[in-house]
Symmetry: C2
Subunit: 347 residues, 2 copies
Amino acid sequence: MTLDDLDTPAVIIDLDVMDRNIRDMAEHCRKLGIPLRVHTKSHKIPEIAHRQIAAGAIGVACQKLGDAEVMVAAGIQDILIPYNIVGPRKTERLTRLAKRARMTVAVDSEATAQGISDQAAGDGCRVNVLIELDTGGRRCGVQAPEAALDLAKKIAAMPGLNFEGVMTYPSRPEARPFLAKTVELIRGAGIPVRTISGGGTGHESMAKELDLTETRSGSYVWEGLSRIGNSDHLHENRCPLRVLTTVVSVPTPDRAILDGGMKTFASYPPKPYGRIVEHPDARISGMSVEHGHLDTSACSHRFAVGERLSVIPLHQEMCLNLHNECYGYRKGDVEVIWPVAGMGRVK
Amino acid sequence: MTLDDLDTPAVIIDLDVMDRNIRDMAEHCRKLGIPLRVHTKSHKIPEIAHRQIAAGAIGVACQKLGDAEVMVAAGIQDILIPYNIVGPRKTERLTRLAKRARMTVAVDSEATAQGISDQAAGDGCRVNVLIELDTGGRRCGVQAPEAALDLAKKIAAMPGLNFEGVMTYPSRPEARPFLAKTVELIRGAGIPVRTISGGGTGHESMAKELDLTETRSGSYVWEGLSRIGNSDHLHENRCPLRVLTTVVSVPTPDRAILDGGMKTFASYPPKPYGRIVEHPDARISGMSVEHGHLDTSACSHRFAVGERLSVIPLHQEMCLNLHNECYGYRKGDVEVIWPVAGMGRVK
């Protein structure tokens, strides 16, 4: 089966390019001396996670329990969920995983830690816990080193939990005083801090500079751009993921319509929506739910119904999350059809 | 099972409200005297389509072949795909459906019509065809009545096709001269025009005024707003669909974090992202991929980790399309768990 045999729209992945991105990031982190934990939210495909681990990653991060369930079921053994797991329905699912794999979660409140402790103690297993620090990302996280110390003491005393360390996102220079003070306070209280986890593709060397014990990176699989500079956001040689589309209408000389819109590419402000590889001067001017609108007025090429175009979407992760499957290929031959296993598992 | 038993985030549907929306729209169209064809893209759930037909709809419209396959497999017998079906992989799927249900498609080019004709003639079946007219929507569609006449003559002569009529989107007053002239020209050439199809929830009475033979409406199932006025875009009494969420973090007094972000709600510019039913003065200020950010500074309520909130998302259709299943309930009791059958079937 070749790419020409595929119906459209289809997410296609150049495996040579993806493998190179995986290899290069592993090598980059090895040289830096910072352990790499790969974030599976970017793909939700267990086999890709296994390739990343084979290349040298120490384990994976999953943003949702539903993703983690998919990864454990596929044999992944070391998973960090950098997310507050709240409520008995979720903590029960978490302990099921903790009996089968090394599970670590992040918490930023006593309530969340207590819920996990109650469940784990009742189920006779242990869950590793990091405290999330809000070092300026303004999302989750405790607000001060002293608050982290208070919470660390409570977690260290809770049954069913292993206090493991701290995490933050993203890894930035501004995080240094908060991180350093927190680790100093917790260690000063006699509580070991084994893990200091930071994140964000492109922040690997900063993670090393901040003396972190691991860096979480995910989007490098698709974009491969952060370590080569953000200036060329859609550099084609580094982007293995494309959406193969078909022109279904050319109603006027300056307009062509693709067979995919917001439910194929994800709507993601601001524009541009993506780049047409074959004709970069054809601009994706808008999207309906199922149609992509091309402004071809700056294009000398005359588009025809039935013509196939490949599009590098702006946000590869959100795009892939809309597709039941994707197609990995090398030099035009389809080598694998991957179900997007974690898709739709929002819980 | 009650709503309290559900893990979050979960799409929940108040069936009493949904049934009322379905009943009211059917009654509205009956009184107007305009046949209603319901658009399944809004939900992608066959049982809801069957309820809409039971309430009086003449059939359904599906925006993609993948949706139509789901509906035919669920026993729906009259389907319009108002979309150019292009390429042999798709035309083959179309004729498979045409042997099992009454299938009508829209085309706006000879190339698209010819592809369907070749397939249908070869497969020994017939496909009904409408010509799409661009009456100002500036998406697909032929550009002038004379062009429509030319195409109608060609379609009428193609084996395997039944020329059935014309369609446009949306139904607006500006469409009148284009529609009237086209129908006059085609009928003048001795070709019957049995169907004149228009679309858009809220355009039902305009469809009647334009002498259309049917109106395609979809989003009324969720929003129920267009026929009661667009002024109150998220009027809660008409909105059966909500996302049940959990507060997973309250890092500061003016910030709360929900357990769903862009992959739960869909990112949909412009803001607002949606409304918190219990606390409308808590503003969804942003979304990460898996976190919802609440600005609670204008709120007297103190949010707590573990608290559940229901959110009316801005774009219900895009939101539902991200979930593997949804939960229909009455007065708090879960009555049905529906797989979102058409989700991810982008082809």
